[in-house]
């Protein structure tokens, strides 16, 4: 199940170091969100991080084969978790997203993303003899993705559900489906969008309408976007400086510790800080991706590429939300938004990435 301990020296410590930097930026940000106080967010998040760290290293030491073999089990576990959430889940803010496990409120949908990617990586690994994948071979992963999309969407948590579906589609695309199918489905989705609109809940329609024009409800639902844009815009080129963000310290910014942490960051550190942060996440995305070019096993490649992409993708979605180019759908900023499930799932992903980056494919891996 576990590799030899000495393989820990093979881990990509540069990647781990970047992860630490980003987490620490997140800590500083939560500290300033609380008006220059570790309490309540920064300290809690640090405790979680330290608590999860053993698990993190445990995962880096897992045999890739173990992960390969248990791919379906992981998927079934999250499926059970999601159904449990729907039946016994803990309801907050109008949605049933959490279940209580061992004293923690766990958001199973976060882990669904990982399990789904592992499952699909295995599926396509088994098909790897074929050059390009036809529609028929893509039906099962697509179906599984849609099942999980629906299970999360009815919580309702459209943001996470959309990410799950998007990751499923990215895997299928990356694995080499004929280009005609993604292009065709994009066309269909565009033409169907008016019908899809009617399936959305009123509050979801509302969010999209407000995204398109926040000024229709400046003190109500549009308030988030307007205040977030003011915070970011007032940061300017250099930023207002550490702890100098008035939008944050005077509480004009709602949900500043979760979905809108980027606004806090950008208000303090400005355009310069924002670009540095984007660059950091982009580098973090590329390090595992470069490794994929050295690998030939489809399973390894998909795990490394898609999970690395997942973190960067969520990062982009989140900041697009805060700067008003995407509707507010509730996607956390990896390692920076306050919240245990998101932190844990992203740490697990990074552990998996470190694990798979240290693979040398001299021997046949999965048999």
């Amino acid at each position: 199940m576990f590799r030899e301990f000495k393989s820990i020296y093979n881990l990509n410590w540069i990647y781990f170091f970047i992860l630490l930097i980003i987490f620490w930026i997140g800590e500083i940000n939560l500290y300033s969100a609380a008006g220059g106080s570790f309490d309540p967010w920064a300290s809690n998040q640090l405790i979680r991080f330290l608590f999860f760290l053993p698990l993190f290293f445990l995962v880096t030491m897992l045999e890739p084969k173990f992960i390969y073999n248990f791919a379906e089990i992981f998927l079934i576990l999250v499926l059970i978790g999601l159904i449990t959430t729907l039946v016994f889940g803990y309801t907050g803010m109008g949605a049933t997203r959490w279940i209580r496990i061992a004293g923690f409120n766990l958001q199973v949908s976060e882990f669904t993303k990982i399990a789904l990617v592992i499952f699909m990586a295995k599926y396509f690994h088994k098909l790897n003899a074929e050059k390009t994948i036809g529609l028929f071979k893509s039906i099962l992963p697509l179906f599984v993705s849609i099942i999980f999309f629906i299970l999360v969407a009815i919580q309702p948590d459209l943001g996470t559900a959309a990410i799950i579906l998007a990751l499923g589609l990215v895997v299928i695309f990356y694995a080499g489906i004929k280009l005609i199918y993604p292009l065709l489905s994009l066309g269909i989705i565009f033409s169907m969008s008016p019908i899809l609109w009617t399936f959305l809940k009123p509050y979801q329609q509302n969010r999209i309408q407000i995204f398109l024009n926040p000024d229709i409800d400046p003190l109500g639902k549009g308030y988030h976007i307007i205040q977030s844009k003011i915070a970011i815009g007032s940061g300017g080129l250099q930023g207002n400086g550490f702890l100098e963000g008035s939008q944050s310290s005077l509480d004009f910014l709602p949900e500043k510790e979760t979905d809108f942490v980027f606004a806090i960051f950008s208000e303090q550190f400005g355009f310069t800080g924002s670009i540095l942060l984007i660059s950091l996440f982009f580098i973090m995305f590329l390090i595992p991706v470069f490794k994929t070019y050295k690998l030939t096993q489809v399973f390894n490649k998909i795990i490394l590429f898609v999970l690395s992409f997942k973190i960067f993708f969520e990062f982009l979605i989140n900041i697009s939300m805060t700067i008003g180019i995407l509707p507010v759908v509730g996607v956390a900023l990896p390692f920076m938004s306050y919240g245990g499930s998101s932190l844990l799932s992203n740490l697990l992903i990074c552990a998996l990435l470190l694990n798979f980056m240290s693979i040398s494919e001299k021997k046949r891996m999965f048999s």
Binding site: K126, A129, Y174, G233, F271, Y293, S320, S367
Partner: protein, 590 residues
């Protein structure tokens, strides 16, 4: 598990796809960066301003309002301190218990239901005034101060009006508004029209506030600037004296203006009211005042329009002279009435005045003389001269409820009544009845115009307003004839107001004209007749008593215009009042 062979081509596809996804990711990052650049660099100023607006709260502090003085710097309206119990919701959760406690400790007789209703509307950081605090209550409160966390005594400024008989000139203030301006505004008369002048500039306290409006810290303070003081042309002593001369049981008014510069020296209207009750928020008294059938809020000297009666006759005479319709020496025989068509128009003197020339017609107020003149007169000439001499004109002296009254013309009747003009109406218009409507102030101005030879000074209440003349010059001869006749009304035997010079020979010698303004059409023959007084006529149908006089008659300086509603004949009621007030003004050289 079967061994899986990886084909080279398949790996190439994966690497190519990975490249596409990286490119897409890079493009998305670039779009995000462009957007950030637009927000943070291009539109930085816009968002910075928004951010500052978010956190800055500007609290206005009320400025001290300018004082109002009479012409000799006696204070007519000033500011005084007002202490109130004010509750701040944010200071204690138990603020409502504290209010009840306060009411128990100091008997304030608060209406808790009303207070709890009002309190809900207030921001937690804005104080809500519970009640005024007297010195005794303040002392009692201070002794038990430790019991109250949310209640404080706050000093504010209120308007202070020392004299009741200025309310119809100065007006009053409205209730203070919550926001954005924390002070009350004048809503009536001079307080209203001089609002900007008197108000001053509010001070500003710049506070940094959080999203719930709570002050985090004070950034800077700009002090408030007191409003300008206003000096009136009114003379306090004359105003008070004139008020004392108005009969308490009658509605009426008296206005005194200066012939020389149009200054309004006093302006009284009875009944009057106390503007202080608005400042003291004595709601029951305010309610009574607003519902009072006597209409004390109504300034009768300025906004009361009545038929002028015989005081109008000089205009008719002037039209006759200007149009060459009469020879002032030529006599007309008054047999008590005049006939037009099949209708008789009666003189107030039933048995007739006999032979009357112009001077006698004015002196003895012979109606028949003017009926005969009216038969030859065009009503539009009357209307036009009336306007030239200050009637049918709106005066902007800063008082509310402006009006121009009415002097009828053919055009007016067509437009408003859709009827053509009858010559019979010219007859009654020429003696100041009919559609004629003038205010006491307008009548004073009319006489000022006549005494000034046509061009008269525009009336004013504000001492700073420069004297300005308006109107058209009269023929010198004509003016002399009229003024002579008006002097004769008081100074010569058989003048309708000759009684004045007999009963009070020590008073300043005046000229003037009596008038009796009809409320209903009592038979013409009964007007100004002594037997009229003995008639049992219901009070409210009695005629208004009118007199316009000036003093001294040989070198006029003051004009007094008096109306006593339902007072009866002009000579009996209004004239003696005017004489006393003119004498007072003259002797005191106001």
């Amino acid at each position: 598990m079967e061994k899986n062979k990886t084909s080279e081509d398949s790996i190439k596809i994966l690497n190519r796809r990975s490249f596409i996804i990286i490119i897409v990711g890079a493009i998305l990052s670039f779009i995000v960066s462009i957007r950030l650049f637009s927000l943070q660099v291009i539109n930085y100023k816009f968002y910075k301003k928004k951010s500052v607006e978010n956190k800055l709260s500007i609290k206005l502090t009320p400025p001290l309002r300018g004082d109002i003085y009479d012409s000799k710097k006696n204070l007519l309206a000033g500011s005084s301190s007002l202490y109130e119990f004010v509750v701040f919701k944010n200071l204690s959760k138990d603020h409502f218990q504290e209010i009840i406690k306060l009411d128990g400790l100091i008997k304030l007789n608060l209406n808790f239901d009303e207070i709890s209703k009002q309190l809900k509307k207030y921001n937690e950081y804005t104080g809500f005034s519970l009640s005024r605090a007297s010195w005794k209550q303040i002392v009692e409160f201070e002794k038990n101060k430790f019991l109250f966390n949310s209640i404080k005594i706050i000093e504010s400024k209120k308007r202070y009006y020392p004299y009741k008989n200025f309310s119809q000139i100065i007006g009053y203030m409205g209730q203070p508004t919550q926001s954005p301006e924390p002070y009350s505004k004048g809503i009536f008369h001079l307080e209203k029209s001089y609002e900007k002048y008197l108000r001053g500039i509010p001070g500003k306290i710049f506070n940094e506030v959080n999203s719930r409006g709570r002050t985090i810290r004070e950034i800077s303070i700009e002090k408030s600037i007191k409003g300008n003081d206003l000096d009136l042309t009114i003379d306090l002593t004359l105003q008070n004296y004139a008020q004392s001369q108005l009969p308490l049981d009658k509605k009426g008014s008296i206005v005194v203006i200066s012939v020389l510069d149009g200054s309004i020296l006093s302006m009284n209207s009875n009944p009057t009211f106390d503007a202080q009750i608005f400042e003291d928020r004595e709601n029951n008294k305010i309610k009574d005042l607003l519902n009072d059938g006597q209409k004390p809020l109504f300034n009768r000297a300025f906004s009361g329009f009545y038929p002028p009666g015989s005081v109008f006759k000089p205009i008719s005479a002037l039209v006759g002279l200007q149009r060459n319709l009469i020879n002032p020496q030529k006599e007309v025989f008054c047999k008590g009435h005049s006939t037009l068509g099949d209708r008789n128009y009666y003189c107030w003197k039933k048995k007739g005045h006999g032979k009357v020339n112009l001077k006698r017609a004015i002196k003895e107020s012979c109606d028949v003389y003017f009926y005969e003149l009216a038969k030859k007169t065009n009503i539009d000439d009357i209307a036009s001269l009336s306007s030239d001499l200050g009637l049918y004109t709106e005066y902007d002296i800063g008082l509310s409820n402006k009006g121009k009254g009415l002097v009828p013309s053919k055009k007016w009747k067509k437009a408003f009544l859709d009827e053509s003009w009858y010559q019979g109406e010219t007859l009654i218009t020429c003696i100041g009845q009919g559609y004629n409507q003038t205010s006491p102030l307008q009548l004073a101005i009319l006489y000022s115009a006549i005494l000034n030879g046509g061009k008269y000074p525009i009336p004013k209440l504000d001492k700073k307003v420069p004297t300005k003349f308006t109107g058209k010059s009269l023929n010198n001869e004509h003016q002399k004839i009229i003024v002579n006749s008006l002097n004769a009304v008081v100074q010569e035997p058989r003048g309708t107001a000759h009684k004045l010079s007999i009963s009070n020979p020590e008073f300043v010698k005046i000229g003037g004209k009596t008038g009796t303004s009809q409320v209903i059409r009592i038979k013409e023959s009964e007007r100004e007749d002594d037997q009229y007084k003995s008639k049992e006529i219901e009070e409210r149908f009695k005629d208004h008593s009118v007199f316009v006089g000036y003093a001294p008659y040989d070198k006029p300086k003051y004009i007094a215009s008096v109306i006593i509603e339902n007072g009866g004949s002009g000579s009996a009621v209004a004239a003696p009042i005017a004489h006393k007030v003119l004498d007072f003004a003259y002797k005191n050289n106001v």
